[in-house]
Subunit: 208 residues, 2 copies
């Protein structure tokens, strides 16, 4: 028989303790410490913190929005699927429009990816929302374009697309965007739905 | 206006080309090359391949099972959510029992995590299945215990739990298990639902 730890809360405690022992979190603002710990927990890499960047207002803006009932707009079904509903402070709506039947035609019409086209269906929910992008660089690029064109302004943007084409560039564009959107990003190629979920779940409640 | 690539298929092509240019895939068996490329694509890290391990029969066993209609048993809702249904060769069932209302009581009764307890509800589907574990080390440990106790034998196991407590240990236990289960693992702390999804999606069809 294999001997292993079966106590869920104790597994979380030891995981978070290992992360805090190994990762240098000293430069993080206090309100993002638990967010960083959970993002590291989701990917198993304590060096993630080196690529983590944020605007000074990001933690407060996201938490305030969630408590006020802001919807969470997700670029991928996996992101929407992973958000722990019972952690949300105001039974916040979790929205992913990627699988909406209108999206393929929208994408063809707009000459872009389905991930980017799906944001057209966010328009009336953008203002004051929490945006969680954990997959597609084109979704993050499109969000910035929509803001430039005058679309509603999210309260905060979790910019965590992953990959080899546009991921690093779209996150840099968010971090340097003249609109000054509140944001958390992981610079470079790393990112993903699990990191986006971890950030949302950490911002939703202080409870670890 | 921001200039970025909006052509989905071209984004995939360039991503996969970058991965093949940067990652050393020469030691991989031919039937796992596309699997490795997609797993790297899902996490943005070309050095993932250094931690990738497999049994010689893993690719063939998983593909044969999927073509024969095997169910895909997932430890987490995010894994189930990410599998691209239209890639599956036999409209395979994608099963995640974690949110079954019986699971909390099972976990209390068995003195284990909900992730491990959820496997009790896999018993009559295990034989010949494809198991995709992308989150919980305890689910992978429990699977090995169940095999030792005589449960049905999966055709192949994707062992990709992530994290700081039990992840590395459970994957080593799978790779060294005397039952000789066909498997693909990423050794160490890295893993996750996106990697598990990428592996399933790559095994489901040869189409990139």
């Amino acid at each position: 028989m294999i001997d292993y730890l079966k106590d869920g809360p104790e597994i979380y405690r030891r995981s978070f303790a290992t992360i805090r022992a190994e990762a240098d979190l000293s430069h993080l603002p206090a309100e993002l410490e638990k967010v960083a710990v959970r993002m590291i927990h989701a990917c198993g890499m304590t060096d993630l913190v080196a690529d983590l960047a944020w605007s000074p207002d990001a933690g407060k803006a996201a938490r305030t929005a969630l408590r006020a009932g802001a919807p969470i707009l997700c670029d991928a079904a996996m992101v929407a699927s992973g958000i722990t509903r019972r952690r949300l402070p105001a039974s916040n709506e979790v929205i992913c429009t990627l699988t909406d039947p209108r999206v393929p035609e929208l994408a063809a019409h707009l000459g872009t990816t389905r991930s980017a086209a799906a944001l057209e269906l966010w328009r009336d929910r953008l203002e004051g929302s929490l945006v969680a992008i954990g997959n597609a660089p084109t979704a993050l690029f499109r969000l910035l374009e929509m803001i430039e064109e005058g679309a509603g302004r999210p309260a905060a943007v979790l910019g965590l697309p992953v990959g080899f084409v546009g991921a690093a560039e779209s996150k840099r564009a968010l971090a340097e965007h003249p609109s000054g959107l509140a944001h958390i990003v992981v610079h470079g190629r790393r990112g993903g739905s699990a990191m986006a979920v971890a950030a949302v779940n950490a911002l939703a409640t202080e409870q670890e």
